[in-house]
């Protein structure tokens, strides 16, 4: 079974995001880049499917600038067989739909039986690409999955997705798109051998022209980014317990409007 995993490179979760001189972008100096954590669940699940079936191919695919190669190399170190890098300035301003269209073109070329994504990328939290991909491909899609089981013939997949208070179970015919929720699995660490072997695996650069891509303006554009207002400092309530409790209830109701 051939499985494609779409991954996005995002700033490390520990990054203190700063807005750059251009207020439509973040300042990327000094940022450590990682594979978006939900995408790691997707990579892990793809590798487990391959291992369970005893055969198959897992291909990581990502769209973005040159630095994205590092994220793809992490996927290769984890065990993906090869990678595809959509690497062209034509996609510099890509919105989610442009991204999805480019990825869909690659998916069509590769014709996998399964496309795995994270439920959303942790940078802009749009959570749109996987659903748009499914729509563009005409494939069924289950998002926020917590479990999956592919039948022996590789014709259908049973998934359980997280809903309020429980799991919702779906059967989907393959090919299909699944998006990974936290809890689907525990991603492995790349082994040293995996890391040492990653350089020997293929990362294929794909240009817009390779996909017969006619440049397309994004329909979404960022107007401006605004930093969150600094959080007001915490407050320790003074006085004996009855007084403090009264003050706590009052401020929760009148200031925080939480009750």
């Amino acid at each position: 079974m051939k499985i494609l995993v779409a991954v996005k490179q995002v700033p490390d979760t520990a990054t203190q995001v700063k807005i750059s001189a251009d207020p439509r972008a973040i300042d990327t100096t000094g940022i450590t880049w990682i594979v978006s954590p939900y995408d790691e669940f997707a990579v892990e699940e793809a590798l487990r499917i391959k291992e369970k079936r005893g055969q198959g191919e897992v291909v990581a695919v990502s769209l973005g600038p040159e630095r994205v190669k590092e994220a793809l190399r992490s996927c290769l170190a984890m065990g993906c067989d090869r990678a595809i890098h959509l690497n062209d300035p034509a996609w510099n301003d890509a919105d989610t739909l442009v991204t999805s269209k480019a990825l869909a073109a690659v998916v069509k070329q590769e014709a996998p039986q399964l496309l795995l994504c994270g439920r959303q990328a942790i940078d802009d939290d749009m959570g749109a690409v996987a659903a748009q991909l499914a729509e563009l491909l005409g494939w069924p899609c289950a998002s926020w999955i917590m479990e999956e089981a592919i039948d022996g013939d590789g014709k259908t997949v049973r998934t359980a997705r997280q809903v309020e208070g429980g799991l919702e179970v779906f059967d989907l015919p393959l090919p299909a798109v699944l998006t990974a929720q936290k809890g689907l699995n525990e991603p492995r660490y790349p082994t040293l051998r995996g890391i040492m072997g990653a350089k020997k695996k293929e990362i294929r650069d794909v240009k817009a022209a390779d996909l017969g891509w006619a440049p397309e303006p994004p329909q979404l554009s960022v107007v401006t980014l605004e930093a969150l207002p600094p959080r007001p400092p915490g407050r320790i309530l003074q006085g004996d317990v009855p007084t403090a409790v009264k003050e706590l209830v009052r401020s929760l109701r009148e200031e925080a409007k939480a009750i």
């Binding site: 660490y189 790349p190 082994t191 040293l192 051998r193 890391i195 040492m196 990653a198 350089k199």
Partner: protein, 382 residues
């Protein structure tokens, strides 16, 4: 001069850091308190390839290099000194000499399982009367047909209880002094190979430090590493590499204690300000940061020389000396920055302080490193 790590080295370092932080650090205090060998995490380190970092893949290793090894080892030590001791002995003191001096048949039997992390290796040079003076080997091996009959006592063997294989140094010809020392791989379970005691220690308490006793222990001559009489050369060459590992362990302990100290100095208030605002605390933190960087650079230089196949005995001794002294000084000051809380087991710096001490002692005390360095300075040979 290039100081940038390669992409692979960076990925190995990042993996080791994340594994150490999420899998090792949470158990470090408990295994230290209980003096319990961390089987579970050591097994996972083996699966990740951390137990044979620089051993080529065909022999069960990861095929990386010494620089990657010290970067990874520093990260492990940052979380736990005991794990770092277990890892460094298996990598530097066992796998390295068996790879370097072993025949293919020996590599197959004795190296592959240890490099792949399926079994542990140990290194038994020290004896009750042979520590710094390691030439004074009293353990005796007498040839008897296809075997050596081994008798004697080894002291302070790291991994001694857990190891499946121990590289044992012994005298095969007393008349030849250190030229009569031979190295044998002894397998756990061999009749006459006893482990009567493990030590109760100040630091690295989760690593087992064992006394080994050999009573008419018959070891096949096929287990001899190198020629008869080559043992001391093998021991010295091995310790050069080992010292780079201990330097990395020391840097990691110092760096771990330093990170906790910086965080504490930001949070803890006295006289109305964070203690990090007091110049005397800043002074300690600045000295710590500088010494750690210096120790790390010396360690990386020694590792780089080893990888290039250049002489590195003096560089390794300098790295080990400076890193060990730095670890002791930095962890002492880390306790100081924490004030009374640094003296309490709830705060990790207390453990780093105890763990740091061994780095000044094993694989050659700081005094012995100075002897090695002085000999080079005064025109010895390398």
């Amino acid at each position: 001069m290039k100081l940038d790590a390669t992409e692979e080295q960076q990925m190995i370092q990042a993996m080791a850091r994340e594994f150490a932080e999420t899998a090792i650090r949470p158990v470090a205090a408990e295994i230290d308190r209980e003096g319990r060998f961390p089987h579970e995490t050591v097994k996972r380190m083996g699966e990740l390839g951390l137990m044979g970092v620089a051993i080529p893949e065909p022999w069960g290793g990861s095929g990386a290099d010494t620089v990657a090894y010290v970067l990874a080892l520093e990260e492990i030590a940052k979380a736990c000194g005991s794990h770092a001791a277990i890892m460094s002995v298996n990598n530097s003191l066992y796998c390295d000499p068996v790879y370097k001096f072993g025949t293919d048949a020996q590599r197959e039997r004795f190296l592959r399982p240890a490099a792949a992390g399926h079994a542990l290796g140990g290194f038994a040079l020290s004896e009750p009367q042979a520590g710094s003076d390691a030439r004074n080997q009293q353990t005796l091996a007498v040839r008897d047909g296809g075997h050596y009959v081994l008798n004697g006592r080894k002291q302070f063997v790291t991994n001694g209880r857990e190891a499946a294989f121990v590289l044992v140094f012994c005298a095969t010809d007393r008349a030849k002094a250190h030229r009569g020392i031979t190295a044998l791989v002894v397998e756990k379970g061999t009749t006459g190979f006893l482990v009567p005691k493990t030590e109760d220690k100040l630091g690295i308490r989760a690593s087992d430090t064992a006394e080994l006793v050999f009573e008419d222990c018959r070891v096949p001559t096929a287990n001899r590493l190198g020629e008869e009489g080559m043992g001391f050369k093998i021991a010295l060459a091995t310790l050069d590499g080992g010292r780079v590992g201990i330097a990395a362990q020391a840097v990691g302990l110092a760096a771990g204690a330093f990170e906790r100290s910086v965080a504490y100095a930001r949070e803890r208030k006295s006289f109305g300000v964070a203690i990090g605002q007091h110049q005397m605390v800043q002074w300690m933190l600045a000295d710590m940061a500088t010494a750690i960087d210096g120790a790390r650079l010396l360690t990386l230089r020694a590792a780089g020389l080893k990888d290039k196949g250049r002489p590195y005995t003096t560089a390794a001794a300098m790295a080990k000396l400076f890193a060990a002294e730095t670890a002791m000084k930095v962890t002492t000051d880390a306790v100081q920055v924490h004030g009374g809380y640094g003296f309490i087991k709830d705060y990790e710096v207390e453990r780093y302080f105890r763990d740091a001490k061994i780095t000044q002692i094993y694989e050659g005390t700081s005094q012995i490193q100075k002897l090695v360095i002085a000999r080079a300075v005064l025109g010895g040979t390398e």
